[in-house]
Symmetry: C2
Subunit: 325 residues, 2 copies
């Protein structure tokens, strides 16, 4: 199979929204009047972002999911993406499954593949995604306001739980591992919630490197600080899952670590004024996405954790850094 056969067989469909899709020097899109284009790029590397034995279906899903999660954090509606793929060799079964996972998620979000590149090399997947957001309505990191509530969507910690179990740090019951692994390998980007929060949330970010680090980006960009209730935060551990997160297995500090520096969650952290609590709940209900209020924006810089009695507790958390040892 040649490079062109590969593209034709697995990665080409007729353009629906784009003016011109795969097959020319460039793709062409016609931005709608009054819309801004939101653009994000994520690169996934074997051994760094996924295990070598991950199913190619899951990998196709996740490579697009992490990009859609960035659109969600901006409140943008997915429109299209490019895929650049370095492959050690052409493996028809792998390509079939990878593209099946990719198309399934792309179709769910009406996000079409408009172009890209393939080459031989160590496995590397780079997707650049494009979404639309009405001009001036994008959710940014930099506009959290004093007194805003802080929210987190869904649950945190499942991906970290799966990662630790797969790396042999502990054993999990089969149903717990299966659920956690699905969250690690096939995260569901919060696109519907993100767009529903336009005009409601004052700031947003997607949680890919852990809540502490990612909320920290909002605080720094907005020039504010935050107080977070650790009981509410720990409650985020599988609060809405169908199975019980095995909290009994863990020390309290481990639970905190999991929530605050777990990583790979792809939930949204966002802020909104207390006057918008009803609107936030309506957005959550309307998009069938759980949302938990965990704290408040304060003027003093930094992230402060308080217990149920309102007492400050001391803790340090790391944000994920690809170059840290």
């Amino acid at each position: 199979m040649t490079e062109f056969d590969l593209i034709a067989r697995y990665f080409t469909r007729p353009a629906r929204r784009a003016a011109l899709g795969v097959g020319d020097d460039c793709a062409l899109i016609n931005p709608a009047p009054g819309m801004q284009l939101a653009i994000s790029s994520d690169m996934l590397v074997e051994g760094r972002h996924f295990f070598s034995d991950v199913s190619p279906y899951s990998l196709g899903h996740k490579a697009l999911a992490v990009n859609l999660s960035d659109l969600a954090a901006c409140g943008a509606t997915p429109a299209g993406f490019t895929l650049a793929l370095a492959l050690p060799s052409i493996d028809a079964v792998w390509l079939q499954e990878f593209s099946r996972g990719l198309w399934a998620l792309a179709d769910r979000h009406s996000c079409e593949l408009i172009g890209g590149d393939t080459t031989q090399g160590p496995l590397n997947i780079c997707i650049t995604v494009f979404g639309e957001v009405p001009r001036g309505c994008a959710l940014l990191r930099s506009s959290a306001q004093l007194g805003d509530d802080i929210y987190v969507s869904g649950t945190l910690g499942d991906a970290r739980l799966a990662l630790d179990a797969l790396q042999g740090k502990f054993e999990l019951p089969a149903d717990v591992l299966a659920h956690a692994r699905l969250r690690l390998e096939q995260p569901a980007p919060r696109v519907a919630l993100g767009t529903a929060l336009r005009g409601i949330a004052t700031s947003a970010i997607d949680i890919s490197d852990g809540l502490a680090g990612d909320l920290g980006h909002i605080l720094k960009a907005s020039g504010v600080g935050a107080q977070v209730d650790i009981e509410a935060a720990i409650h985020l551990i599988a609060a809405c899952a169908h199975i019980d997160w095995p909290k009994a297995l863990f020390e309290r500090q481990e639970l905190l670590n999991t929530v605050f520096s777990g990583g790979d969650d792809y939930e949204l952290a966002f802020t909104a004024p207390p006057t918008a609590r009803g609107a936030v709940q309506a957005a959550a209900v309307g998009t069938q996405t759980a949302v938990t209020r965990i704290g408040v924006i304060e003027s003093e810089p930094g992230l402060r954790l308080v217990d149920a009695q309102g007492q400050l507790i001391t803790a340090r958390f790391n944000s994920f850094d690809h170059f840290a040892r």
Copy 2:
């Protein structure tokens, strides 16, 4: 140095044209009314697209140049790009030089870096570039017309000459190698010519995989064939360079191979009706880019080569395929 320090130090500048640049979940751009957005992605892998000892300055240049060349082939004006970078480790000297090469070319084309990703992994550079073109004016591969002239910009074969010499296939005089190597490692994308050809050229493509294969894409997409004059084509070998291409070193068949399947040239092949010869020359002169007429579009499918006497000659050329052995 952390991942965030790295981005801040080497890859962040204030956004000028973009509504929002590096530093949030997404970049935001405001497409101008009436313009289409042209988008292209290229991934460069060590050992496949560049030698491990290439200067990082050249690599920064080339990674963007090959993408700008795709915009040129569409007649689009560069606007911005994202950069996703997998690095084995953080090497401050390498990053300084890589970013210097990247910025120098980006500045020359007013193309700003608006976002991206960095991670640890085998060296891989993936750039996605965005350009603007008035709606309906993009140069496509699919609209070459019967009777059109076929043109090629600049010169062909220098990159292949350098590659072969660097791989020890033959020796070259130092000045010849230096010139050819610059063409291989720092190609000049034909952006000015591409935009000048809007409304003049009927089709265009950039020559990255060799003239035979890339012109072949135009023929196939347009449902036509072509006759090409091999004397005119061989004349493309350094026809305009300051130094003499050492033609005497080569057999005739080697010269043909170099022109038709050399690769890495980043010149434009394009078609235009005979009535537009004056306009093509004006575009060439106005952008200080040599342009050579090498053949004509015919109805019979396929690429036919003729000699100075108009006699058909038989030859087969390969197009570059990243997965071919």
